[in-house]
Amino acid sequence: MKVFSNTETFNYSWEEVSTANWRKYCPWNEKSTHVVAVDTISRSVDPATGILRTERLITCRQAAPEWLKSMMGGGMDESQVFETSYVDPKTKTVTMVSTNITWSNLLNVQETVVYSPLSDHQTKFHQEAKITALAGGWQRIKNSIEDTLVKRFRENAAKGKEGFESVLAMSRRVFAEEREREKMGLIREQAGNIRMAA
């Protein structure tokens, strides 16, 4: 088993980060082109704790290394990940746990991501992935598979940070515009009321 972990800081409030997190894989994020689809399988709020639990299916397209393809046969370019996430609004924590559902007989990847506030304007992102090659046979091959994935995680983490920054910036702009529109609507409404009263 190999472990990849990574911590980042985003200069946005936890509320902003946790909201933008739902649209992390969208056209605004030009760095996450390997994620082709995100589907929500189920979603519920626990009435006792207020925790929002969500199950999602994430479909990725990213070329596997040639040597791995030749070993496993084709069809390795599309993969799917199942993710369960928990938003606790009381402790202000988002926890996302995910596991691969594709090639699960060959390898097991379990990732945990946590978003938690550092201050009113800063949010910490922590990611940890445990990668275990299951295929029987030579340890050397297992090691290569694990190393390839750790490398892939490292590359995606750098791109992920950059991509999420652009989603956060765009989200802030869109929310500001929306507030502006609401304000204008309110002003127009008030102006209308004044006219009516006159």
């Binding site: 946790s18 589907d39 929500t40 399988i41 938003v87 609004p89």
Partner: protein, 83 residues
């Protein structure tokens, strides 16, 4: 918003995602989102009924079941419940 893995579900997904994001930012994060049935429930049902068919067709429903079983422990860890 992101796409659905099934093209035919994209429109229903878009409607639901938009509703959810509004609910999340305007109600849930402000402490007004604990009710099970909210304004997005009907939209979710529409999207979900489309998606479930697509998952079954692709044989993903069974894989999901296995993955859910694998992550079962995180429910007790993160939902704040004892086993």
């Amino acid at each position: 918003m992101s796409q659905s893995l099934a093209k035919e579900c994209n429109e229903a997904k878009e409607r639901y995602d938009t509703c959810f994001l509004k609910w999340y930012s305007e109600k849930y994060l402000r402490g007004n989102g604990t009710e099970q049935n909210n304004e997005c429930s009907i939209l979710f049902k529409e999207y979900s009924s489309c998606l479930q068919v697509a998952l079954k067709e692709r044989g993903i429903d069974k894989l999901l079941e296995e993955a859910r079983e694998e992550l079962k422990d995180s429910d007790s860890t993160y939902m704040g419940k004892k086993k």
